[in-house]
């Protein structure tokens, strides 16, 4: 196997050499811990009767004090003609502010259970060398998002929840799956055989909704060392939304060294796999760049 094809198969190999395995998987490990940890928090209730958290991602109550509500489902409920009680609305406020701070689609990479599934499909897809991928625009998710909102308004009920794989998976884990597993299997097979990053990258309206919050969110990936990029393309290979990187990395149209695209999921995988340490977490207001020597300066506006 030539060095070149090996690198294609395993993006991040160079980072492992320069930063060590742990250094090159830091954010991935943290992210998986967060995803699994949140699931466990919900699971210890039904499993052992330790009710730290009750409910599911639509609404949950932590330690009987912290209400958290999914703003997307409350929006559908509102369009369907119901104004929720204070409890649910308080949860919406907290969740919205939280994601405005940490990044809208952080929900996708740090919380959503379906992401574990679709990431697994992608992992297997690469290992099996499945190349072909159907072409659907990444904008499709916004059309689907719009459709779910229109459907709620027209039918007067939260119809998307009848089929939504995201809540089906989360609810299924704590309240029983029934045939929901078939829906999730369909999503998994779709991602594995039909389309690369199919569900999360192109179709899911939940992700699309959180990306709208992400338009204004504070936490962003910064590229203070973008000049150090050696075009190894590893970040593009691991990013679930690779289109978000290019403007910031290549300074297209004077883009500051910040990934401002709403669909960046703040997964931090680009930070992990970059052997040149181009990427770091930061805020959207920090436009500073560092020279390779590590001296910070602010880009002229």
């Amino acid at each position: 196997m030539s060095a070149n094809s090996k690198q294609l198969l395993q993006p991040g190999a160079e980072a492992v050499i320069t930063k060590g395995w742990l250094g090159a998987h830091r954010w991935l490990i943290l992210r998986r811990s967060s995803q699994i940890g949140i699931l466990l928090l919900f699971l210890v209730g039904p499993w052992f009767g330790w009710w730290i958290v009750k409910g599911n991602l639509s609404f949950s109550h932590t330690l009987n004090i912290l209400p958290l509500t999914d703003p997307y489902i409350i929006l559908q409920s509102l369009l369907a003609g119901h104004v929720s009680d204070k409890m649910a609305l308080t949860g919406v406020l907290i969740v919205t502010v939280f994601y405005l701070l940490v990044g809208g689609r952080s929900f996708c990479s740090w919380v959503c259970p379906v992401n574990l599934l679709t990431d697994a499909a992608y992992w297997l897809r690469v290992r099996l060398g499945i190349k072909g991928s159907a072409h659907i625009s990444r904008q499709t998710r916004y059309w689907i998002l719009g459709m779910t909102l229109v459907a709620a308004a027209v039918t007067g009920s939260i119809v998307w929840e009848m089929v939504n794989p995201v809540s089906m998976m989360h609810r299924g884990l704590f309240f029983g799956f029934g045939l929901a597993w078939a829906v999730l299997l369909a999503v998994w097979l779709f991602d594995l055989f039909v389309m690369r990053h199919g569900w999360c990258g192109h179709l899911c309206p939940v992700g699309a909704f959180y990306s709208l919050i992400g338009k204004w969110s504070l936490t962003r990936i910064r590229l203070p060392l973008r000049t150090a990029c050696n075009d190894c393309m590893d970040c593009f290979a691991v990013c679930p939304e690779p289109q978000v990187i290019r403007p910031a990395l290549k300074a297209i149209g004077g883009t500051p060294p910040l990934i401002l695209e709403a669909n960046c999921t703040n997964c931090g995988r680009c930070i992990d796999v970059c052997s040149k340490d181009v990427f770091v977490f930061g805020t959207r207001f920090n436009h500073s760049v560092a020279t390779v020597a590590g001296v910070s300066q602010v880009t002229p506006k």
Binding site: K54, G156, G178, L179
Partner: protein, 291 residues
């Protein structure tokens, strides 16, 4: 037609084609989901919503499928619907024959609901309207058969109000009484304890969602006797005293039937002395209280 082949025109055409394809695809998906949702608009007969649930159309807009009500029910009677079940996916329900609602005084399920899909204005569980019990099978109900089962009557938390036992003649034996369980919709909460407790192999009394169990009179119907009571008297014309065309020497009283007139002192009347007139000597139609 050089123009048509310039990259920008081709790209634009491609863009419109893609957009149209996407809109059609998503539109079809929406239609599919909408139609699928329509199926689940009416509750299936065995699924009863928790106390305080809004009417089904409002409930499907309000309930966010969080399961808080399920968690806070101390008797674990509630489930969230699975996708294959014939009601809106993820919404809470119970099946009375499996586990009925215990009608907790503090109604924890309603308190847990963050959205108001379970109406917080329900403070008295006896006012709940989860469904309505219906004595569905008069052929198998043991009380209808003449036994004194009475179980539904006795387990009912609203005893002697939601279900009463109405005595009726047992025409089969001719000398016993049937105690017919009668459900009163203004008192029944739909908890389902009667359905759970009914000892027949398949319950003879069942709880159904209100829309399924309750009839409704046409709006223009008036119950004469109710109206009369409200008005404190007849609404049409004063009741005229009945006039009977009696055989001579007989009188008629409501309830009693025919009887001979009191005997007049002789000489006052030329009428022949009335015969003792045994009841069965009379035409059948004049007997008893059938008139």
């Amino acid at each position: 037609m050089d123009n048509e082949n310039t990259p920008s025109t081709a790209a634009r055409r491609q863009f419109f084609a893609d957009t149209a394809r996407m809109a059609c695809g998503v539109g079809l998906l929406g239609l599919g989901v909408g139609l699928y949702a329509r199926h689940a608009r009416a509750l299936p007969p065995a699924a009863i919503r928790p106390p305080g649930a809004l009417a089904e159309a409002d409930f499907s807009a309000a309930c966010i499928r969080c399961g808080m009500c399920v968690r806070d029910c101390p008797f674990n009677i509630l489930h969230l619907a699975k996708p294959e079940e014939p009601l809106s996916t993820g919404t809470p329900y119970f099946v009375a024959r499996q586990l009925p609602c215990e009608m907790c005084e503090d109604i924890p399920c309603v308190k847990a609901c963050p959205t108001g899909a379970l109406d917080h204005s329900l403070k008295d569980i006896n006012k709940a309207k989860m469904g309505l019990a219906v004595l569905v099978d008069h052929e198998t109900c043991l009380n209808f058969l003449g036994l004194r089962c009475d179980i539904c009557y006795r387990v009912c938390p609203v005893i002697d109000k939601a279900i009463t036992l109405d005595p009726q003649t047992n025409t089969r034996t001719g000398k016993h009484t049937l105690f017919i369980p009668v459900v009163h919709s203004d008192q029944c909460t739909g908890c389902g304890k009667c359905e759970k407790a009914c000892p027949t192999e398949v319950a003879s009394i069942k709880v159904f969602p209100l829309t399924m169990a309750k009839g409704q009179l046409s709006a223009h119907y008036r119950l004469g006797w109710v109206e009369k009571e409200k008005a404190g008297g007849s609404l049409v014309a004063p009741d005229a005293a009945h006039q009977y065309n009696m055989p001579e020497g007989m009188k008629y009283e409501h309830g009693k039937g025919l009887s001979p007139m009191p005997v007049q002192p002789p000489g006052v009347s030329a009428a022949p002395a009335p015969a003792p007139a045994p009841a069965n000597g009379l035409p059948k139609a004049l007997q008893g209280n059938k008139l």
